[in-house]
Symmetry: C2
Subunit: 320 residues, 2 copies
């Protein structure tokens, strides 16, 4: 099977066909119609074997996650994801792997009506680069730079479960079958908060998705918005499984420092909290209030005892 | 230096600042204004060390070429390139390498006013994935599917020089210093035919850039347009250096089969050839007439003696 046969066999069979795609896969480039009154939103993420996923990771989960982490960036902008390209580097043509990878990727693409419009397939170390393009009504993107003193800080779900699942996978702790089932999807097949992100337009002053850990990612909001924050640690949502293994998992340090959660962290001004509540009810999403934006720079982590605490690490960084 | 410092140090210093970039590098995604009456054009290409460039290739040339091959796809669509994202996988932080890589990439970006709007930087085998976004007036993209029987077939420059430079690099033949100087830029720092591509809107019926060799790439046009072609081999443009080393370089088989030329191959109807001539004069580009589109499928290669010839290979393909 050569490159062209591979592309036709695996990548031409997606089910999503959008009306705004004038020219899809098969030409030198794709051509897309952008509706008036909307801005284009562009993001990209790469997953490298051995760095972002182990060599023995299930291909279906890799396909899901490669797209999910990109959809999560659209969510954090309040954008509607629409089209993506795929850069796939593979050491060889493993048909079972490709079949499962495509299933994971295209199932998620179908869920959000995002169409694959192009890409490049090359021989090399297993690496998946996806770039996603989306739309947002002009001027309504959720940025990292809009947080204001007095804003309430929320996260959209529990933190630390992906870290817990990885620790189990690496043999650093042992989860029961039942516990594994509860947290492993958080690591392998995270659900991007796409609809929630779109619902937050006009409500949130700022937003980011938690990929590098709450400490680092909230830190990006604070830096870009030139503000600080006070966080009430007992309010940080942890799953019952995480609470069970709290100490061996690394406690709050892991929960706020590891990342890979793909929840949103948002800040909302006081006069919009009732709208936030409505959106939460409408979309079936709970927003966990964890603290407040303050004018003083930095994050003040406050324990249940009213003490100050400092996380030992500041999130995941390559090359450190 | 961690990932964030690396990004700030090397990738925030570009000189291109476009007015249509509402949010640039530094948020979850970039936000872009698309003018009314234009369509978005999207393409992506990956370069892998050891596959697309040797480990000892000059970083500046790699930076140039990674962007150039993407700009070449915009040229082949008749699009105006505007913004790009960069996915960079690196085994380590080599400051000299990064410095030179960025110089090559940003110098070319400045030449065509394309702005880096985002990306992802990860630890892994050296791989460069660039996605480029451009604009084309609605309905005016040059496609692979518009060739019609009777169209004249042109290429925008000599073929085979990149192959010749690589053969020298690999020790398969020996070029003089002077010859090297003439052909090595064709391999290492190709010039994408961006302005020519835009000039061909409304003139060419179809277009493709020659990355996999004339035989394979013209083949894509023929397949998508459901037509065939007759090519006069003596009219295929070869540089004087290529002619000197014609036999040892592999003759026409290499010139039309290897690729990496990044010239355009276009088809133009008879009533537009005078417009083509005007554009050629205006942009200082020579269009070499090499054959004609015919209704019968396949390519008929005709030698100087009027004999039929068949190329032994059909262009470069991964996984073959």
């Amino acid at each position: 099977m050569n490159e062209f046969e591979l592309i036709q066999r695996y990548f031409w069979r997606q089910t999503v066909v959008r009306q705004d795609v004038a020219i899809a896969i098969g030409d030198d480039a794709a051509v897309i119609d952008i509706p008036a009154g909307y801005q284009l939103v562009v993001s990209t993420d790469v997953l490298v074997e051995g760095v972002h996923f182990p060599s023995d990771a299930a291909a279906q989960a890799i396909g899901h996650k490669a797209l999910a982490v990109n959809l999560s960036d659209m969510a954090a902008m309040g954008a509607e994801p629409a089209w993506f390209t795929l850069n796939l580097s593979l050491p060889d043509v493993d048909e079972n792997w490709l079949e499962a990878f495509c299933r994971g990727m295209f199932d998620l693409a179908g869920e959000y009506n995002v169409q694959l419009i192009g890409g490049d397939t090359v021989k090399g170390p297993r690496t998946i680069g996806i770039q996603i393009n989306g739309l947002v009504p002009t001027g309504q993107a959720l940025t990292r730079s809009g947080a204001a003193s007095g804003d309430y800080i929320y996260v959209t779900g529990t933190l630390g479960d992906a870290a817990l699942a990885l620790a189990h996978h690496q043999g650093k702790l042992t989860l029961t079958e039942d516990e594994q089932q509860k947290v492993s999807s958080r690591l392998h097949t995270p659900e991007p908060r796409v609809r929630i992100g779109q619902g937050l337009r006009g409500i949130a002053n700022s937003a980011i998705d938690i990929s590098d850990g709450l400490a680092a990612d909230l830190g990006h909001i604070l830096e870009m918005s030139k503000v600080g924050a006070r966080l009430n640690m007992p309010d940080i949502p942890l799953s019952s499984v995480y609470r069970t293994h709290f100490e061996v998992a690394g406690g709050y340090a892991t929960a706020v420092g590891f990342g890979d959660d793909y929840e949103l962290c948002i800040t909302v001004p006081g006069d919009k909290t009732d709208k936030l509540e409505s959106i939460g009810l409408e979309l079936g999403c709970r927003f966990y209030l964890i603290g407040e934006i303050e004018s003083e720079a930095g994050i003040r982590w406050i324990t249940a005892d009213g003490e100050r605490w400092e996380p030992p690490s500041h999130g995941y960084s390559h090359f450190r």
